[in-house]
Amino acid sequence: MKVKRTNFWLSFKTAIWLGWKIESNWTDPFLFFIYSVIKPITGASIVVIMFSVITHADFSSPMFAYMFIGNTFYQYVAAIMTGVSWAIMDDREHYRTLKYIYTAPVHIPLYLIGRGVARFLTATFAVLILMVFGIFILKIPIQFANVHWGLFLLTMALGAVMLSMIGLLLAGIALNTLRQNFFIGDVVAGSFFLLCGVIYPLDILPNGIRQIGYFIPVTYWIELIRRSFVGNIAQAFPTFTQFSDLQLVLILLGTAVVFGVIGYISFILFDRRAREKGFIDWSTSY
């Protein structure tokens, strides 16, 4: 039977299936549940406690809503980017299957993005837990009736694609580097944490460094997420006061397209280099 050329949908769908199987591979589902709840809450709690120590637990402050929502939705940034790039390391170094994936008629970029979807799903669970924690325990002033759901869904969709493409760029780098550098997704996510106004307004950053944040789509993505939930509070901060929601969406779209093109082309080039150097079935641990 003649095998058809690469089927994009099957590459993507099967990769999602595999990614979920790997992510949910816990011998103890209870432990998985604890992990899914404890990890995001304790991670976010560091910032909450820092805030609490300085402001004597003034959680009604607009600054708290700003920090908490940014910190919560930042989970997606790390999860999607590392999910996509980590698949290279996992398949090549751990499961030793990358060469078979490459030999098969798989659309590799879509396969990698599909592997990232599982991380997106686990991040969604973490985000939900945190938002429930924030709204009901810490009393962040979010009213469901005032949430701009349309803006939120559009922003999430654009963000998922944008972060996937950045993840693809990182996957290309991972393909050409050591196993020990599996932190590459975390490094970039960490940079965005600093530069994109996740837990503090961009104005805190020194001039020069602040400008970098304006070029990164994550900055606008986080801002739009905040506006979806606490529009008036978000707009009170000076950084983007002069921009309307629509303007921010368009800026997000523009920057996302640029990063998307860079991400995809970079991956193709890195991929080619990996084949020239014989890195596809490389094993590098020490």
């Binding site: 039977m1 003649k2 095998v3 058809k4 050329r5 690469t6 089927n7 099957l10 590459s11 769908k13 099967t14 299936w17 595999l18 199987k21 790997i22 591979n25 499961y95 030793r96 299957t97 060469k99 078979y100 994936i101 490459y102 030999t103 098969a104 008629p105 798989v106 080619r272 084949r275 020239e276 014989g278 596809i280 079935d281």
Partner: protein, 340 residues
């Protein structure tokens, strides 16, 4: 109309740059040099050579995992370097001696997943998986996690993965590695049948087991140090040696034994020594049978008592020795010590 050739290489070369080479050390490694090969459709083709000969490098290039540094390679009529996406639906690959696979998935899940990458409908895929698992003796392990399988069984699972997609060209890199004797025999039998069933199918396998290549392959290429030394049917290659006479003489280990002394006898093409228990087996490739008398005379001179003498038909090992001057194990040892 189908292409006559499944695999074609033209002056194919691959050079690796060596990182961290110190002054005086080589900075590059020539893994393949000017490889010209053609494999016909429907052929079971063997690549035979010692470890480090370049067999795996060649397979990697042909399966689009590695770019050549010179020349070109075509698989199923498609340039592997320029159009890898067109090649991949037509090929598959199995590597021996490793336990790749997703341990957390069952045998069936692992195989099904790869079938999806080859766009095989689930129903068809499951039917093929079931049939092939039965053939390789893994039927009762279908729903077992692959991490619970032994290395040999995992290798069988990978073999099924290779055949399951029914490729036009299948590459098998040391497929018997990791398998026991019986399993190796079963796999060889299956490989032969698979190729015979459909003239569209071509299989290229690499091995350093002479017997495997001799038994299975329609044609064999002997490769060493990145170059093809000979390429023909096993019978034809061996027949080239049949003009010579090959004798095996067993003697007791003795300090008087001097191999160089035999090589000086006119008509002795080569003599190699093997040790089995406390006995020494000397293999003589003679220009003609009459030279045997001189050899026996020499043995008597050295006061070596013959315990066993027999005439042997030439094997691919003999062909290799003729081409390289050493047995394959010796060549591998030599390559290792050069590397160190």
């Amino acid at each position: 109309m189908l292409d006559q050739f499944s695999i074609q290489t033209e002056k194919l070369g691959r050079v690796y740059k060596l990182r961290g080479a110190k002054k005086g050390e080589a900075r590059s490694l020539v893994a393949l040099k000017d490889i010209d090969l053609t494999v016909h459709r429907g052929e079971l083709f063997g690549l035979l050579g010692p470890n480090g000969a370049g067999k795996t490098t060649l397979i990697k290039i042909l399966t689009t995992l590695l770019s050549p540094t010179s020349g070109r390679a075509m698989v199923a009529g498609v340039d592997v370097e320029r159009y890898p996406d067109k090649v991949r639906p037509l090929i598959n690959m199995v590597s021996g001696g490793e336990s790749s696979g997703y341990g957390l998935l069952t045998v069936r899940d692992n195989l099904w997943m790869f079938s999806q990458f080859y766009v095989i409908p689930s129903k068809e895929a499951n039917a093929r998986i079931k049939k092939l698992l039965d053939i390789v003796g893994l039927k009762d392990k279908t729903n077992i996690r692959s991490s619970d399988l032994s290395t040999g069984l995992r290798q069988k699972m990978n073999i099924v993965r290779g055949f399951m997609t029914d490729p036009d060209v299948l590459f098998m890199d040391e497929p018997s590695l990791g398998l026991d004797v019986e399993a190796s025999r079963d796999v060889r039998h299956f490989i032969r049948e698979w190729v015979n069933q459909d003239q569209r199918r071509t299989l290229m396998l690499t091995t350093h087991y002479m017997v495997e290549a001799d038994e299975l392959c329609d044609r064999v290429a002997i490769i060493n140090h990145g170059q093809v030394l000979a390429c023909d049917k096993p019978a034809t290659l061996k027949r080239q040696l049949q003009e010579h006479a090959i004798f095996e003489i067993e003697i007791q280990e003795n300090p008087n034994l001097d191999i160089a002394g035999f090589k000086s006898i006119r008509g002795v093409n080569s003599v190699t020594r093997q040790e089995v228990d406390s006995k020494v087996s000397l293999e003589f490739v003679l220009k003609e049978e009459a030279v045997l008398a001189d050899v026996i005379g020499k043995l008597t001179q050295m006061q070596l008592r013959i315990q066993n003498l027999r005439k042997r038909e030439p094997t691919l090992e003999d062909v290799f020795v003729r081409l390289v001057g050493r047995r394959m194990e010796e060549e591998e040892k030599n390559a290792e010590s050069s590397a160190n």
